[in-house]
Amino acid sequence: MNRMTLLLARVMVTGTMISAFLIAVGLVWFLSAHVGENPGDHIFSGEPKYFSNPIGMVRRAFDLREVGERRSVAMIGIFLLLLNPPVRVLLAGAGYVLEKNRLYVWISAVVFTVLAISFFW
C-alpha cells in the first residue's frame, strides 16, 4: 500500500506539473498568434467547438491543420490534466489488486467505469 501511495503521489504531482507547463507554453503560443483580436468567450456557441472527448482532443491536437490555430499544445496539457483523476483511481485499484483486496478492486472498478462512461458515451 505504501509504495503504491508514494507512486500515486508522484504520478499526480508530475502529471499536474507537466500539464501546467504545456498549458502555459500553449497559451503563450496561442496568444502570440491572436494579438489584436477580440476574445470570443462571451457567447456560447452550443456545439463542441474544439473537442468532445479525450480521443478527439488528442486527435485534434496532433492534426496538422490545427497547428495553424495554435491550440494544440494547450489542448494536450488540458488532456493530461483531465487524465489525472482516472489514473488516480486506476493506480489505487492496482494497489488493491496487489493486496488481493477483492472488495476494493471492485469498488475502484466501478468508479473507473463511471468515469469511462462519462468520457466516452
Binding site: 499536474t16 468567450d41 469498488i107
Partner: protein, 277 residues
C-alpha cells in the same frame, strides 16, 4: 479588450481566486465561476467548464501532499466516489437541460450555503473504531492517522448510508454547477460519518478531482470546454492555490475570512439577481 489582455486579466483574477480560496478554505471553482460570469461577461457554461478544470488541477496538485502524509483514507474516498461520480454525471446532464438563469440562481444559493457551512464548521464528535456503523466495518473503512508525535490514533466511521446519500447530492451539485463541492463533502464526512477533520479534508481533496472528472466528460460532449478560457483559468487558480498554501502560515487568516466571506455573500446575491433578471 483584445484576446491577450483579456486572457491575462482572466488569469490574474483566477490567480487571486486561487490564493483566497486556499487561504480561507473554499475551493477555486465556486469563486472563479461568478467572477468570470459577473466580472468578464463570460457565458456561464464556459465559466463552469473552465472552473471544473481548475478544480481538477488543484485537487491533483494538493492530493499528492495529503497522500504522502498518509492522512487521507483511500477506502473511504473510493467508496464515496461511487456516489459522487454517479451524482456528478446526473448533475452534469441536468445542467445541460436546465435554463441558464435557473442555474445562476441555484449557483447563488449553493454559494450562500457554502459560506454558511464554512462558518458553522464545528467538528462533530469523533467515535471509536468499535462503535462504527456495522456496514463500515464490513467495508473495512475505519482507519488510523498519524499524530504530530508519530503515534497513530484509530478512528471509527459512522452513518454510511446517510453519508453516501449526501455524497450523491454533493456529486450532483458538482456536476450541475461545475464546482468541487468540497464544503458539502466535508459536511458529509465530518458531521455524518464522524471522521476526524484532517482525514476529512485530505480525503475530500482526493475525491474532488475524481468527482470533477466525471462531470467533465459530459461538459466536453456539450462543448463547455474552450481551451482558450480553460488555459488561463486553470493555470491561474493552480498557481494561486500554491501561493495561498505558502501564505497560510503568515497571513491574517481570520480577518481575511471575514472580509472574503462577506464578499462571497455579495457575489452570491448578484448571481441570484442575474438569474432572476
Amino acid at each position: 479588450m483584445t484576446e491577450p489582455i483579456f486572457d491575462i486579466a482572466v488569469g490574474g483574477a483566477s490567480f487571486c481566486a486561487g490564493v483566497f480560496g486556499s487561504l480561507i478554505g473554499l475551493g477555486g471553482g465556486i469563486i472563479i465561476t461568478p467572477l468570470l460570469v459577473l466580472g468578464f461577461g463570460i457565458d456561464l457554461r464556459y465559466a463552469m467548464g473552465a472552473a471544473l478544470c481548475s478544480v481538477i488541477a488543484t485537487s491533483s496538485g494538493a492530493a499528492a501532499a495529503y497522500l504522502r502524509d498518509g492522512i487521507s483514507n483511500m477506502k473511504v474516498g473510493l467508496f464515496l466516489c461511487v456516489a459522487t461520480t454517479v451524482g456528478a454525471v446526473c448533475g452534469a446532464l441536468l445542467a445541460t437541460v436546465l435554463d441558464q438563469s435557473v442555474l445562476a440562481v441555484i449557483f447563488g444559493v449553493a454559494l450562500l450555503a457554502t459560506v454558511f457551512l464554512s462558518l458553522a464548521k464545528k467538528p462533530g464528535p469523533r467515535i471509536l473504531p468499535e462503535d462504527s456503523d456495522p456496514l463500515a466495518i464490513k467495508l473495512d473503512l475505519p482507519g488510523e492517522f498519524p499524530g504530530q508525535d508519530g503515534t497513530k490514533s484509530a478512528y471509527g466511521v459512522a452513518g454510511i448510508v446517510p453519508g453516501f446519500c449526501v455524497m450523491w447530492v454533493a456529486g450532483v451539485l458538482s456536476g450541475l454547477l461545475g464546482i468541487g463541492s468540497g464544503a458539502f463533502k466535508v459536511l458529509a464526512m465530518d458531521q455524518i460519518m464522524r471522521l476526524p477533520f484532517k482525514v476529512t479534508t485530505a480525503t475530500s481533496n482526493f475525491m474532488i478531482g475524481v468527482t470533477a472528472a466525471a462531470s467533465v466528460g459530459v461538459y466536453l460532449k456539450k462543448g463547455y470546454l474552450d481551451p482558450a478560457l480553460v488555459s488561463p483559468v486553470a493555470l491561474g487558480v493552480l498557481a494561486g492555490a500554491f501561493v495561498g498554501a505558502k501564505l497560510l502560515a503568515v497571513a491574517p487568516v481570520r480577518l481575511l475570512r471575514v472580509i472574503f466571506l462577506t464578499a462571497v455573500c455579495v457575489i452570491a446575491v448578484q448571481m441570484i439577481r442575474q438569474g432572476l433578471r
